[in-house]
């Protein structure tokens, strides 16, 4: 009796689903068998011209493109098993600071799936897409109210794209004022990496402002660095330590006096919804991360949406076209007179925008304020539970997130922030953000969000307090209950295998 040709990996074996075992899931390439297939196409009754009849020979590829050939059954098995190897908000708490991993209401999934939204071609004329234009216009209007700004572009597809858009607006503004020589943008040392990276891409230079003992922007250093070459300052408020920059009005005034503009990184907007507004603080440009504040799910890394709202004087520079209510009540696309141009192929991540709009309708003005209250209450309470066990580098009351440090624990028992993070995975929670902001050694940046209950917070606190009693060597073995154990990151970089095809010959 001979075995059949079974060169491919089995598709129907769930040994890699953690429910069952801890094997590696084969790649879809290993499951491939030449000639197997899942596809089917509709009947068209079109003439069956051959490739050679349709395309000049010089263009035709000499051999077929190699893709995995699998059955639908094996594809479904593969992807389903992969989901059993993936943590997510829907499985448990995700207190990843700066990322605002709140619960994403299922109603928003339904809204984004409506054929009247998802099935619309982006080039269809405004007359055929009045629903979409109105939705986007309404959303823009709401975002202006929430931020205290007066005009908005919904094109930027993520926060970083919003930053760059905002900085190009800053540049366009200065150029229009005959201030094209300005080339410096001030950024606190606690800022997220996208801020300086965006500054560079906008053709500006980053000037770093230190954080003072309060955990706030060092006002003296700011005064020191403010000069006629400053195009503006980028801040998030509350800052990445979760602390409110209480000098914000003075900061804005000082920068404005120096001829600069004030940019708001909206990553932390969740903390202040309905409580205070960047526009009222003196900001000129605001980007929002709808995937943080407005519950667009993160999708394993994206897509998000990063609208940019501006004060009146910057409105004419916004990217276009912009959905606009016309006289007569209809909607049309209008490009601002001095627009910096497009920043997206079409109209931004439209379905993500529709999700955020749905989320805002669900919550309303009253609900959004409750979001901020819940977010701050949860973070404040959790921080208090950890006090005395983890180092608290700054004393001020935090808003929606806070940073603690294992510096003392590391000194005493070798327990690093990374170990705490990996141990927490074993306890059924995602890890906090670690080693950010850079100004705090062994930082754990914790953002519980408003959607976690007190019971979950207490369980998280207990786990963190329990872990703090362990020593680094033992904790260093974590995580042991996850689909894979600690991963060799150095090897990944050294023997670079970015594709299945590179396995035989790693790059670099």
């Amino acid at each position: 009796m001979t075995a059949p040709p079974v060169d491919a990996a089995p598709g129907g074996q769930a040994r890699s689903a953690p429910l069952i075992g801890r094997d590696a899931e084969p790649t879809i390439f290993e499951m491939s068998v030449p000639g197997r297939r899942a596809w089917s196409f509709p009947r068209t009754e079109l003439p069956e011209w051959s490739a050679e009849e349709l395309v000049p020979g010089a263009y035709l590829r000499p051999e077929l493109l190699d893709l995995p050939e699998v059955s639908e059954r094996d594809l479904v098995g593969h992807m389903t098993r992969l989901t059993h190897r993936q943590y997510s908000v829907d499985l448990g708490a995700y207190p990843l600071g700066s990322c605002t991993m709140k619960y994403n209401p299922k109603a928003c999934d339904e809204a984004a799936g409506l054929p009247g939204l998802a099935g619309i071609h982006p080039s269809a004329p405004a007359s055929l897409t009045q629903g979409w234009l109105e939705l986007l216009w309404r959303l823009g209007d709401i975002l202006c109210e929430i931020t205290g700004m007066s005009a908005v572009t919904l094109q930027p597809p993520a926060g970083a794209a919003g930053e760059l858009t905002g900085l190009l607006l800053m540049r366009a503004w200065h150029q229009a004022q005959g201030q094209g020589h300005r080339h410096k943008v001030l950024i606190p040392d606690s800022a997220h990496g996208t801020n300086p990276a965006s500054v560079t891409l906008s053709g500006y230079d980053t000037v770093t402002i230190p954080t003072d003992h309060r955990g706030l922007l060092d006002m003296a250093a700011l005064a020191d660095r403010l000069d006629g070459a400053v195009a503006g300052i980028m801040l998030t408020n509350p800052n990445t330590l979760g602390l409110f920059e209480e000098d914000i009005v003075q900061i804005a005034q000082a920068v404005h006096r120096a001829g600069g503009l004030v940019y708001y990184d909206g990553a932390n907007l969740n903390a202040i919804l309905g409580v205070t507004r960047p526009g009222d603080m003196g900001f000129d440009i605001v980007h929002l991360n709808l995937h943080k504040t407005f519950a667009v799910p993160h999708g394993g890394g994206g897509p998000g949406a990063g609208p940019v709202a501006v004060s009146p004087r910057l409105a004419e520079f916004l990217p276009g076209p912009i959905p606009t209510r016309m006289d007569g009540g209809g909607f049309d696309w209008v490009t601002p007179p001095r627009s910096i141009g497009r920043v997206h192929s079409w109209h931004g991540n439209a379905l993500a925008l529709a999700r955020a709009y749905t989320y805002i309708l669900l919550n309303g003005g009253d609900g959004l304020r409750r979001v901020a209250e819940g977010a701050v209450l949860n973070a404040r309470w959790l921080r208090q539970r950890l006090e005395g066990t983890y180092d608290s580098p700054f004393e001020r009351p935090n808003l929606h997130e806070f940073v603690v440090s294992t510096a003392t624990l590391k000194r005493k028992r070798g327990l690093r922030a990374l170990d705490v993070a990996k141990r927490l995975l074993e306890e059924g929670f995602h890890a906090p953000t670690v080693y950010f902001p850079l100004i705090v050694a062994e930082a754990l940046m914790i953002e519980p969000t408003e959607t976690e209950s007190p019971q979950t917070l207490e369980a998280l606190a207990s786990a963190l307090l329990r872990i703090a009693k362990e020593d680094g060597e033992e904790a260093g073995k974590a995580p042991r209950t996850t689909p894979v154990g600690r991963v060799d990151e150095a090897r990944a970089a050294r023997r670079l295998i970015p594709t299945w095809d590179a396995r035989e010959r790693p790059i670099s």
């Binding site: 709140k102 055929l128 990496g193 009222d280 995937h291 997206h344 669900l362």
Partner: protein, 452 residues
Amino acid sequence: MGHYVPHTDDELATMLATLGLTSLDELFDCIPAALRLAGGLELADGLSEPDTLAAVAELAGRNHGGLVCFAGAGAYDHGVPAAARALPFRSEFVTAYTPYQPEVAQGVLQALFEYQTMVARLAGLPIANASLYDGAAATVEAVNLASAATGRDTVWVSGGLHPHWRAALATFAAGSGHELVDIALRDGRTGWPEAGSGEKGVPGALVVASPNYLGCLEDLPAARSAADANGARLVVAADPVSAGLLRSPGSQGADVVVGEGQPFGTPLSFGGPYLGLFACRAEHVRRLPGRLVGETVDVEGRRAYVTTLRAREQDIRREKASSNVCTNQTLIAVCCMVQLAWLGTSGLRELALRCARGTRYAREALLAIPGVEPLVDAPVLREFAVRLPVDPVTVIERMAEEGFLAGVPVGLTDGVACDEGDGRNGLLVAVTERRTRAQIDAYAAALEKVMV
């Protein structure tokens, strides 16, 4: 309403008491009083879930969703099978963050590893990243890479590049200082300057789309020669569906291949979220924008995946990063990966072939209408441009009444494709595998009717 804050009144009170506070307002005492909103936001109160969904559905109902779609221009009405509609939307993929903790993120990481492999094969290049925002963003990043690699700011941009992508290049050039030089189309394909003519400066990068915006297949070896003559890098923006039939750009000398991944598994979605495809030669890997997943092992030697070469990225390299991208389009990349696996080798070829057949058939049907002429005359694959005797904007409106989204108005100004009318009444028509002979016949008949 605050549907999604779970705390009961009792719990709020107890938690506040624990913090020594007596009201929720006091949580915000660290915010200067003058900054605090007195009356709250001027927004309506929250709605119930059914009322909310009804309100959004009402808006959705005001879009004309049922039209038979002949519009393309970078956004295509391809079929997405039920499996590809279901699998990527399992909540583990949807509600995960960027895989910062690889031990609990092998699902997303492996899917991205498989995605990267497929995109690299489509491009014919060894490296692909884990996605960028869209075709425009990928093109911008490619130009950044090529310009950094050559140290030269001049960029030759084919007149056949998508006008929106060209616009995005121009927007971001204001920051990067790149100098974009339009290279006009001749008979639908890029007329690269003669080697050594020097008339357009010395470029660090060439950007060409193939098939280009007018649907024409470009002569990529010619583009490669033009790049070589200038010591420039060649960026090719490719329609990934064409990979089913055409030679890969990488095999024809592209240094960087970019594209719009929407055709694989993503509905039209009014333009987003879409998917920026990005692949490059191995030598550029340290300038690669965005995230890259690599295979490695865990402590027990089991195969594992992790984001790698992170030192390029903004969170580590900050102002010196190769790109500022952080949140990308991971979920859409997973959709793409599932759709490509569903297609497989033979399915991708069949898909491209079916598009090409429909395109040929539709083109012949349209050109048979009196007054309709080719806009340009070069080989096409799945999209073509015609010149109408009347204004295409009006035609599109009238065709909608007949049940069709007729296409996208297209112009050609000084050899550069644009989406504004230029007096030539161009209409760009795309035909996917979903279009049947009956639909195309009806479309042509309707077009003839509405133009009289």
